[in-house]
Symmetry: C2
Subunit: 321 residues, 2 copies
DNA sequence: CAAATTTATGCAATCGCTTGCAAAAGATTT
DNA sequence: AAATCTTTTGCAAGCGATTGCATAAATTTG
């Protein structure tokens, strides 16, 4: 591989000038700069990342750590990934992927964290680089999230508006902010409107939801709408309802959350609260890069930044029009 | 951060000894080594990856490049990812993720390539590091693949064996080896057994398959089995069949390929040819690491290595028992 | 027990690049 | 035209580790 020195010699300048032509183009005479760039292309010169990182203390790598033991069938992360990856690339940053198994491998300038649980915070605290979360947290870390509270109210509102008179919130059995926010949104909605309602919590698997419906079928009268905290639960609920002979959407409405299964399944046209995951990924990457570029100073400690990107209801065939 | 020098001083040795204690433990006196390790822990010393990479010319990074414009709802890649990631971590290698947009960002010791198309080979050829593919190729690159040819024969065989008398192969409309191998397997099976059969090719989306079934419903008599080249197509076909009033599996059988949707959907218990994706990911990582460790020499050029991991049929409710 | 051999440790150079300061060249002012 | 300021370029040092060779210590051998 050609080095900075090779380029310098060939262009009859010192390597410093070449270095500047790359990193601070405005500091070098335009014509000179062009001829240097030309030589660089000629030699197919690529700066050595390791050498750069060594002296500049910038790896130009961002690590995405997925905590939830990488649920390999969950498209959610893939969609975040796409957004993050695209944004980082625009800024010439590389994306490194880590899981619960690989905390320690490799270096980076900052972390994007997702699928995190309470038990993981101890690990997060000992990180020395900037951190951005997916999902609200009370520990003061910057985060990107969707409007969970309001989104559920919207879903519930839509269900009531289309004539369902009995609501069931089907939550995920975890005590994380994203879940409790949704539950609170639902609870407040019920209080405010006085609609008949109940809440259940299930493990986030289709068949669990299907089984639940089978076993508790009698408890769900006609005109019930299920407001679910994930598309998986929604799909499972729908299957259960259909298996019991319930008609969707005429007698039973089902609303999902996430919007990750839309393209996956043809006949299942699920009404769902769609998260703009690509945009959320991009936002997280941008936020992190900003934090990397402007590190906190002692005099001005870090103020938590929150970016909320609203989900919107995607209305389809599992609810009335 | 503590450096090698810091550790050396504290341990009263030269930094060389510390370096050896890390990289060639057998070369340093056991007791000395232990005390060095102790100091390292005390100072929370982590070797600087950049400095290491600079001199050793090893980044300890492997790049996974996904070519197919990252289809964000495709769990296939996530499952590969899990396998690759786990294997790499065991060897203290980091995984970097790249897409069609980000060919050039970041350095690595080798590439794992997936979702590749003919047009991408020009790019691949100019890579200087070892490469491992997912999927057969005739360009001489090492690869990991499943037994596409035989797998389809197994699927078809099972369909015939369970009494379906008419077979339809539903392929993906691309001219890549994985597809042509499957088609050839099907074609040969038909020739050998003389069973009634036909082949179609569709874009790999559920609704395309569903629409196709609707429009060509008359062409599919009872007792037809659809052998599909992906789970998506299978799901789409099944929906189409059901919408037309066909009974699954009594009158129509459906077999998928990949096995990525199994946990996703409860009532859709699809019979599918399950690829061992996690194992394939691990195998690819292992193969690549071996290639990195033992680079080709001039005297002994590279011989293509092929690793085939067999898929097996996972029998469920979309075919007869 | 001295010589030869093996095993452990240290020294110096180097990887490719960027930072801080200094010098040279060019432009502007008085 | 001398003095000052600004822009452009170069020099030297060093980031934190590893490689090759040299030296010191420990062990074996005749």
């Amino acid at each position: 591989m050609a080095t900075l020195n090779d380029v310098a010699k060939r262009a009859n300048v010192s390597k410093m000038t070449v270095s500047r032509a790359i990193n601070h183009p405005e500091q070098v005479r335009p014509e000179l700069r062009d001829s240097i760039l030309h030589v660089m292309a000629e030699l197919n010169y690529q700066p050595n990342a390791a050498a750069r990182a060594l002296v500049s203390r910038r790896t130009r790598v961002v690590k995405l750590t997925i905590f939830e033991d990488m649920d390999t069938t969950e498209p959610y992360y893939m969609m975040l990934l796409a957004g993050i990856s695209n944004e980082l690339n625009q800024h010439q940053y590389a994306l490194q992927l880590a899981t619960s198994n690989s905390y320690e491998v490799g270096e980076c300038d900052g972390y994007i964290l997702t699928g995190i649980r309470q038990k993981n915070y101890a690990w997060v605290e000992q990180l020395r680089q900037p951190v951005v979360f997916f999902g609200r947290n009370q520990q003061g870390y910057d985060y990107v999230d969707t409007n969970n509270y309001q989104a559920i109210q919207d879903s519930a509102g839509y269900a009531v508006q289309t004539g369902y008179t009995n609501l069931v919130f089907v939550g995920i059995a975890v005590d994380e902010p994203f879940e409790t926010d949704r539950e609170q949104g639902f609870r407040d909605f019920v209080t405010q409107t006085g609609v008949g309602a109940r809440m259940i919590r299930l493990a986030n698997h289709c068949h669990v939801a299907t089984d639940y419906v089978r076993q508790h079928w009698r408890e769900f009268p006609r005109n019930t709408a299920f407001i679910c905290a994930s598309d998986r639960l929604a799909i499972g609920i729908e299957d259960g309802v259909i298996l019991q002979g319930g008609r969707v959407p005429d007698d039973y409405g089902i609303i999902g959350f996430d919007g990750v299964l839309l393209n996956q399944i043809a006949s299942k046209r699920l009404t769902t609260m769609q998260q703009p995951l690509e945009a959320m990924g991009r936002a997280a990457a941008r936020l992190l890069l900003a934090n990397i570029a402007h590190p906190d100073t002692e005099s001005q400690p870090h103020a938590q930044e929150k970016i909320i990107i609203n989900s919107r209801l995607s209305i389809s065939e599992s609810t009335r029009a």
